[in-house]
Symmetry: C2
Subunit: 262 residues, 2 copies
Amino acid sequence: MRLRIDLAYDGSAFHGWAAQPGLRTVQGDLEAALGTVLRVPTVSTVCAGRTDTGVHARGQVVHVDVEAIPDLALLARRLNGVLSADLRVRRVVIAPDGFDARFSPLWRRYAYRVCDGVPDPLTRGHVLSWPRLLDVDAMNQASAALLGLRDFAAFCKQREGATTIRTLLALFWVREGDLLTGTVRADAFCHHMVRSLVGCLLAVGEGRRPVGWPAEVLAAAVRDPAVTVVPPHGLTLEEVGYPPDAELAARRDEARTKREPA
Amino acid sequence: MRLRIDLAYDGSAFHGWAAQPGLRTVQGDLEAALGTVLRVPTVSTVCAGRTDTGVHARGQVVHVDVEAIPDLALLARRLNGVLSADLRVRRVVIAPDGFDARFSPLWRRYAYRVCDGVPDPLTRGHVLSWPRLLDVDAMNQASAALLGLRDFAAFCKQREGATTIRTLLALFWVREGDLLTGTVRADAFCHHMVRSLVGCLLAVGEGRRPVGWPAEVLAAAVRDPAVTVVPPHGLTLEEVGYPPDAELAARRDEARTKREPA
């Protein structure tokens, strides 16, 4: 029996999602809590977005296989009773057939938040403070040129044998006062991709690079040392989109083949 | 020469506004920073709202008298260079004649934020988590009955010789998803007034007290032990409203006479 768990967390005090011996991680905390509440010795979870150290989530999705069906509302309450306040279970449901948190998604949506005025102390944990004014129109123009099915090698930390071809479905910026929110949505992301894209676009926003520069970097398709990876704390995994239940298994098989060829 | 300083702070790590020996306070940090940057041995500041331990501000206003006019933009930058990230100077201007941060305001506006669903870990520092569903319509009905010029003794920590008569100008709640924001605006507030009003209204919201109860408590005009003072971390001083410059001095003299009779 597979459960789907929706999570939110403040990534500040976690060494990212992936369990690592001796370090506090989201996966480590969640699996320990599941072990306690379900009274099982080991639990193995799989997530939709393996967030790095310091990255937050409001819409992380996880699956876990269990022996027996627990009372789901009670399970969520008990998990939140065991977990720290910086990690919350939003809901627990029985996953539909073919559901795989990692391979079934159609897309992941991240938000990157930047303040180019005096930073608000109440949101400083999840908003990057930028010391120079940003031109949101220039950033949006540069962003639009990156959309579509592309090889994002220029923006990714390369991993042996893994493809860096992704479909960037949305990339745009909205200004509210001195807060800029960048929305980034793709079928999947390779390592450091969002933070490299944002670093590239902030260089355009502050006028250090021309509007056409990000598209040039992308076209080169090799890691460009001039692209800065922005700090993790401005980044939040907001939502993961899954297909209708009937298409979950097909989507899972397709994505697995594409991203992890045998 | 008087300066007006606008401040924002995360109150979590401060023992409130007012300087106290051996404790970290907003006034203590600000006066130390001003002393350093202005190169003077002592500085004395006055604020619009003396926030309690754990209460936040986005729109705190302070005045300070200085000998010489510094470069104001540079002063703000230097102060922010010296201050910790949880306390930010939003701007520094030369105060108009008759300006008194404490006595010139026409009103103070506070927000109290409550979440009655699974709390968002990213905002947990300034949003109270409430374990039961809240009826925002009932809370708004009860709130409306408290408006106007009243003796708020029932909601105030009494202080010898000080009046508890205030004009409550606005009190209403807005729900966005599971986040409720209460807006409270009055000419001035006595100690614990906002948090007692909110405690009273949450009892109505969760159905523990009838809609008419807060008005009954108010009418009794004595401190009611059944009214709970809610935790400070949901409370933020959002804005202070001052009259046009020509009316600052008159307003200051009027408010001083009313609130601190000789």
